[in-house]
């Protein structure tokens, strides 16, 4: 049974990726909430997420641990969170549902990189146990998913800013507010991810912080999200310049989660292979 699930796993991930791509194309062509392409996009997004979560659960059952050891597992989980938030936005049924349009390519791309890196399994080393590890990675999954949502909303803000002057101001304002809100959630989840990681590191290595490259970049990213929130709340930043700053924050998030482990000699990079 376990062997069969491991064999089916990459295929299921591929199907999920194709469904996400379909959800993106249909959402791109939908003109209003509830029209045929919009409904098709929701169905494709929901089906993609269902297949994706089933694949993750099946792999979990087959290998005996959650999606937090190999690059394949990590990227798959990050992508699933992005897909889930995209579906949530779609189901809201109002204008902010458009924010899912830039999110599906991210989910698709991450699944593509995951499949390219290969679905090899890996055993859990002695330090990979306990609730704090699970909390640590889950909060980072949520942080990345919410940061991508904020980034996607900012893309729509930038698009509206570069469009005709008579663009719908109300929807522009909503995407701006959505970016602000999800950036706040990303900031919070990122902080909680760092703190729960500190507890895990303390249990595993007897120290809660080690100025490891991943830890340092992670702290920089969190502080930059703090700067963004502060500028929005107290300095009236919104629209284009807020969107550009958020893009920088998202870039730092990608650097922290994926760049540092690949480029530097980090304790984390031992596991994220």
């Amino acid at each position: 049974m376990s062997g069969l699930l491991e064999v089916l796993d990459p295929g299921a991930h591929l199907v999920a990726a194709v469904l996400y791509a379909l959800a993106f194309v249909l959402a791109l062509f939908s003109r209003q909430t509830g029209d045929v392409p919009d409904r098709g996009s929701k169905i494709a997004g929901a089906a993609g997420l269902l297949v994706h979560l089933t694949a993750i659960a099946g792999r979990w059952f087959a290998v005996g641990h959650g999606p937090f050891v190999t690059m394949y597992e990590d990227l798959s989980a990050y992508s699933a969170v992005v897909g889930a938030i995209a579906l949530y936005l779609a189901m809201r049924g109002d204008q902010v549902a458009r924010a899912r349009v830039p999110m599906y390519p991210v989910a698709f791309l991450m699944l593509g990189v995951a499949l390219y890196s290969g679905p090899q399994t890996s055993n859990l080393p002695p330090t990979f146990s306990g609730m704090w590890l699970v909390l640590h990675v889950c909060f980072y999954f949520l942080a990345f998913g919410t940061a991508v949502t904020a980034g996607a909303s900012s893309v729509l803000v930038l698009r509206a800013a570069s469009g005709p002057a008579d663009a719908d101001a109300a929807s522009w304002e909503r995407f701006d507010a959505l970016a602000y809100r999800y950036a706040g959630l990303a900031f919070a989840f990122w902080g909680v991810g760092m703190l729960s990681g500190a507890v895990w590191a303390f249990n595993a290595w007897g120290r809660y912080w080690g100025w490891d490259p991943v830890e340092t970049w992670s702290l920089i990213t969190w502080l930059m999200f703090g700067v963004y929130l502060h500028l929005r709340r107290f300095f009236g930043w919104q629209g284009r310049r807020a969107a550009v700053l958020l893009a920088v924050c998202l870039g730092l998030a990608v650097m922290s989660l994926f760049g540092t482990t690949a480029l530097s000699d980090s304790l984390h990079s031992v596991y994220f292979q």
Partner: protein
């Protein structure tokens, strides 16, 4: 004095000062990330100005400590300011006036819809004039900043009371109370970096996956405070807490080979501690220079799946030339160049971290407070409506959301429709 203190507190929570502090922290940490930091600095030659400014040792410089202290003081000032403000916002009897109030023609219908949408009346008096939804959301800023403050205070307490060090032990070995810890780190208020109790490593148990990779390390230790002895299992990632001491089982374990070399005027007894091989295909090595100037290179291989003892291979080098090699697989006694080598025993060795710092409870409880605060701030957006009489005697409703109001405009519209007797 109080006036000066209040001015100082206001300065600390000034928006620009907060922004500058945060950006300074980002710049400092960018130095940590981009400039090689001590002790990793060595072969890298850094410009004199980098060294003079301390950019090669950022986190131990005085200016970084000042920055952290300033950030902590700012958080404390913000919490002291926002806590009573947020509490008032939850219990106040009237909400802020809306710049777009609407007339209420059917108050009963409005109240019905308000209750249906989760708005609750605030205050004990009648008639109710303020209805609030997600009131916890008003406490979000207080909780989030309190969580961050707890984390900073936790870091401060842990740093001041830091007392941590390592102990390397082999199975059966006992270290007496007061034994000095290796690689000890001690803060200004930290306990002495010595063993507070007598410690014995009774046994080391390791479990492996099917492919021979390590799965679990468990050390069984006996802690003796002079009055009674306690036996405790310490597993990697699951530290044991004994009175005021925490024991962390490190991943650094391995095999200690007790070897006797005969062939020189007096036999030489060696203890060779080799790290645990991480798989059957990977060997671990250790070099030892003998009194004669010759070098012994030890190699350890083991296939833990077969539950066989580890295999030691010794290579003897003299002046850079290999002069003998012995593999102790079938026999415990082999010829090694001009020596006869005997493996007298094999036991596991292990490193355990002895931690006596304080403040971890404070640091780690901040996790929960930050989480609740963040959910309250960004997920539970408070919305409220205040009913009042205008100068012409008509009932007017002011709907208000302190943040993300545009995301709830549909809710406002449904309330307006109910108030004006429309079916939404």
């Amino acid at each position: 004095m109080t006036r000066h203190l209040a001015r100082f507190a206001r300065l600390l929570r000034n928006r620009r000062v907060t922004l500058v502090t945060t950006l300074a922290a980002v710049a400092s940490l960018s130095c940590v990330a981009l400039v090689p930091q001590r002790p990793s600095v060595g072969s890298v030659a850094l410009p004199g100005v980098v060294v003079a400014l301390g950019l090669d040792r950022v986190v131990t410089t005085w200016w970084f400590r000042v920055l952290v202290t300033l950030a902590t003081a700012q958080l404390a000032s913000v919490v002291a300011y926002v806590a009573p403000r947020d509490a008032r916002r939850v219990v106040r009897s009237r909400g802020p006036a809306s710049h777009d109030p609407f007339v209420v023609d059917d108050e009963q219908a409005l109240v019905r819809v308000l209750r249906h949408q989760g708005y609750r009346p605030v205050g004990r008096g009648e008639p109710k004039r303020r209805y609030l939804k997600n009131g916890l959301g008003y406490l979000g800023p207080t909780l989030l900043h309190t969580g961050m403050l707890l984390a900073m205070l936790g870091v401060l307490v842990v740093t001041l009371t830091r007392s941590v060090g390592l102990v390397t032990m082999v199975e059966g070995q006992t270290l007496p109370q007061g034994a000095v810890l290796e690689d000890a780190v001690r803060g200004p208020l930290g306990a002495p970096a010595v063993l507070p109790y007598t410690l014995t490593l009774a046994g080391m148990y390791a479990e492996f996956w099917d492919n021979g990779e390590p799965k679990t390390y468990v050390g069984t230790y006996v802690v003796d405070d002079g009055l009674h002895a306690e036996r405790v299992d310490v597993q990697t990632n699951h530290p044991a807490v004994l009175q005021r001491m925490r024991l962390h089982q490190e991943q650094r374990i391995g095999y200690a080979f007790f070897v006797t070399l005969e062939g020189s005027p007096t036999p030489q007894r060696l203890r060779l501690d080799l790290p645990q091989p991480l798989s059957p295909e990977q060997a671990t090595y250790k070099d030892r220079v003998l009194e004669s100037g010759e070098t012994i290179r030890a190699k350890c291989t083991v296939d833990e799946r077969r539950r066989e003892p580890p295999v030691l291979t010794l290579r003897l080098a003299r002046g850079g030339q290999t002069v003998g090699e012995a593999r102790f697989e079938r026999s415990a006694r082999e010829e090694l160049g001009t020596y006869t080598a005997t493996v007298d025993g094999i036991r596991r060795w292990s490193i355990v971290t002895v931690e006596q710092s304080r403040g971890y409870g404070l640091l780690f409880s901040s996790f929960f407070v930050v989480f609740v605060g963040a959910v309250a701030l960004y997920a539970l957006v408070p919305r409220e409506i205040t009913l009042s009489r205008s100068s012409d005697g008509r009932m007017v409703a002011s709907w208000y959301a302190p943040r993300f109001a545009s995301l709830y405009s549909h809710e406002r519209e449904s309330l307006r429709a109910a108030a004006q007797g429309e079916r939404s």
